[in-house]
């Protein structure tokens, strides 16, 4: 039951949107375009998977964009300047981002502070740390990078399923399984429903909070590595504002920002919808890129209004919803 209808609506919007685009530009309906769509939005799909967990648990993580930026710079410097083997650099940065997320989760839980403002501090911290490492764009020339970037599975019709797209798909599927099939996933929903109730029912609220933010930052770290594969460079200003795209994707995917409801698959569809808007604008050629923002805003409004309507319908017999919701 949980979160199913909104996901269906997202899926219908995606299919209808794709059909409309395909009618106008028949070339959109090719595996090439779809392959590019997956590649271009690979990092977004990965962070959005982590964000889905955070938002379902009733929190929010504003630091993900900065963590991506920091990761790209760290990886580039570690490989190019400090002479680390790429794999060691990856392990180091993933450990670092996981620790960063765990620290934010710990602060949120121990000091009972709003996640919004704690992760805002995390956002400043990670971006500032990235600037400290380097303010310039550092190109990455390690051979691993060209091998990984060139690797791709051929799809029928000439499309290429690139390695970054494969990483994204694996993480989305893994995230969906983790959320739906494990005790961890059930606990995430329980926390989002009500922290107090979840605590009383035996969920270790503190540990869960730490683990959820750790997961989000870890996935942001992976997204950062993927981003560095995608651009073959590390730049401290990369992925500015990605936290907004991510939250938008999660909301369009039918996850309630109040927590307790949502799904990773919906988020994935939300990422694809954003990618589709971008692709359409590229195909059209006359529309400017700012239409992406306006279209995303309109979609956000439509989905939130829809959710609000559904929630209001569900609650109607009991209480009237009040102006200032928490």
């Amino acid at each position: 039951m949980r979160g199913l209808p909104p996901v269906l609506i997202t899926a219908i919007v995606l299919v209808a949107g794709f059909a409309l685009c395909a009618v106008q530009f028949p070339n959109i309906a090719s595996t090439r375009v779809v392959g590019n769509l997956l590649t271009d939005n690979a990092f977004l799909g990965i962070v959005a998977t982590g964000m889905t967990f955070v938002i379902i648990s009733g929190g929010i993580d504003l630091s993900v964009g900065s963590v991506i930026g920091f990761t790209t710079v760290f990886v580039a410097l570690a490989i190019e300047r400090w002479g680390m083997p790429p794999l060691v650099a990856f392990v180091a940065i993933l450990a670092l981002s996981a620790a960063f997320g765990a620290a934010m989760g710990a602060v949120i839980h121990v000091f009972d502070l709003p996640p919004f403002i704690v992760t805002l501090a995390g956002m400043f911290l990670a971006r500032g740390a990235g600037f400290l490492l380097s303010t310039e764009s550092v190109p990455i020339t390690a051979p691993v990078y060209s091998t990984v970037s060139d690797f791709a599975l051929r799809m029928p019709g000439g499309g290429r399923l690139t390695s970054v797209a494969i990483i994204m798909l694996v993480i989305v599927i893994g995230g969906a399984l983790l959320l739906q099939l494990t005790r961890f996933g059930a606990n995430v929903y329980a926390l989002g429903g009500s922290r107090a109730t979840a605590g009383l029912m035996g969920v270790a609220v503190g540990k869960m909070t730490i683990k959820i933010y750790m997961l989000s930052s870890l996935l942001a770290g992976i997204a950062g590595i993927v981003f560095s594969f995608y651009t073959s460079a590390g730049y401290s200003l990369s992925a500015v504002g990605v936290e907004l795209d991510t939250i938008a994707a999660v909301v369009i995917g039918g996850t309630l920002l109040t927590g307790g409801q949502g799904s990773v698959i919906g988020t994935f569809l939300g990422v694809l919808i954003q990618g589709l808007i971008q692709t359409y604008i590229n195909f059209d050629g006359t529309l400017s890129s700012w239409w992406t923002k306006i279209a995303t805003g309109v979609l956000l409004f439509a989905f939130i209004a829809l959710q609000q309507g559904l929630v209001a319908l569900a609650r109607r017999p009991r209480t009237k919803s009040l102006g200032a919701a928490t």
Partner: protein, 330 residues
């Protein structure tokens, strides 16, 4: 005046003094003021002038946060209103330009307020919509270009001076007094705090919570519009991409530094503006010290964390003990 004076402002005032002292060490001319062409110049004036947009934003934001809300769209609203002002400036008179820009801010605020108060959306979500779409709208107005203008009236608004003080500072001061007079001079402030403290209880005891919420978002929109016009007037142009970028975060930070709880229910206008000045004094200090401006973010992060920990409900026990110790010593 007692209503305006902060009851708990000691920490913020001390923080500002400490940062000013650090700035004085970093740059010996920090407190120098000189009068030239009927206008004061100096680092202190610069801090006030540069701090104006965030101070204006925090004036609106503090009321929104007092109702337990948040407005993420102020940066985007700044961009929209700056774009409107810049594109009208050379063909219309100043009152028309101001009316159009402030009117646009009012409409933006009305939209946010409508979503929160009437549709009952979560404030973060409701204002996220305009935050995402707003910059697109601003770029639509400027057609993706950086619109420049040369209208002397509007330029005066950003660079002129009144009684030796820069016009933006005078405007911000005027807005502070106006907001303070309206909110604290009447029961409005109390009603806003009641709405934030417990919306349902306030509603039941006869407070028009919907009207309260709607009006604070409208006021926040108007303040953001004014900040946007001043920012545009300052650089004699409107850049839809960068005007007000991330200033919503600075405004929230200023409010939080000012001791207003994000959980709503109490607020202080003066301390929020003081918070904006603390942020700007830090920024200027870092610039003067010759450290790369990138340090700003790190310093801000540390300050946010420190303020948060001080505000934490879990730590209030320790704070109480510390306060008692201080009292026994004094």
């Amino acid at each position: 005046m007692t209503a305006l004076l902060p009851r708990r402002g000691l920490a913020q005032i001390l923080a500002l003094i400490v940062i000013l002292a650090v700035d004085r060490v970093v740059s010996p001319q920090f407190f120098d003021l000189r009068l030239q062409d009927g206008r004061l110049f100096g680092s202190l004036i610069d801090v006030l002038n540069r701090g104006t947009p965030v101070a204006l934003l925090s004036l609106g934001m503090v009321l929104v946060i007092a109702t337990r809300g948040i407005d993420l769209s102020v940066g985007a609203v700044m961009a929209i209103c700056g774009a409107i002002a810049a594109s009208l400036a050379d063909s219309h008179s100043l009152p028309v330009v101001l009316a159009a820009a402030l009117g646009a801010g009012l409409v933006c605020g009305l939209w946010n307020g409508f979503l929160v108060a009437v549709l009952g959306m979560q404030p973060i979500v409701a204002t996220l919509i305009l935050m995402v779409a707003g910059r697109g709208i601003a770029q639509l107005i400027t057609e993706g270009r950086i619109v420049t203008f040369s209208s002397p009236d509007l330029v005066w608004l950003g660079n002129g001076s009144v009684l030796g003080l820069p016009v933006p500072v005078v405007i911000a001061l005027g807005m502070l007094i106006l907001t303070g007079a309206v909110v604290r001079g009447s029961a409005l402030g109390l009603l806003i705090e009641a709405t934030g403290g417990n919306a349902r209880a306030s509603e039941l005891s006869g407070v028009g919570t919907r009207a309260m919420i709607l009006s604070v978002y409208v006021w926040c929109g108007v303040c953001a519009a004014l900040a946007g016009v001043i920012a545009a007037a300052d650089i004699m142009g409107a850049d839809a991409n960068n005007a007000g970028l991330w200033l919503e975060l600075d405004a929230i930070l200023a409010v939080v530094i000012g001791g207003t709880s994000l959980f709503g229910g109490r607020f202080s206008l003066v301390l929020a503006v003081l918070g904006a000045l603390i942020i700007q004094t830090m920024n200027t200090g870092i610039l003067l010290s010759g450290y790369p401006p990138e340090f700003n973010l790190l310093v801000k992060a540390v300050v946010v964390l420190a303020v948060l920990l001080l505000q934490s409900p879990k730590l209030s026990g320790f704070a109480g003990i510390a306060a008692r110790l201080r009292r026994t010593k004094a």
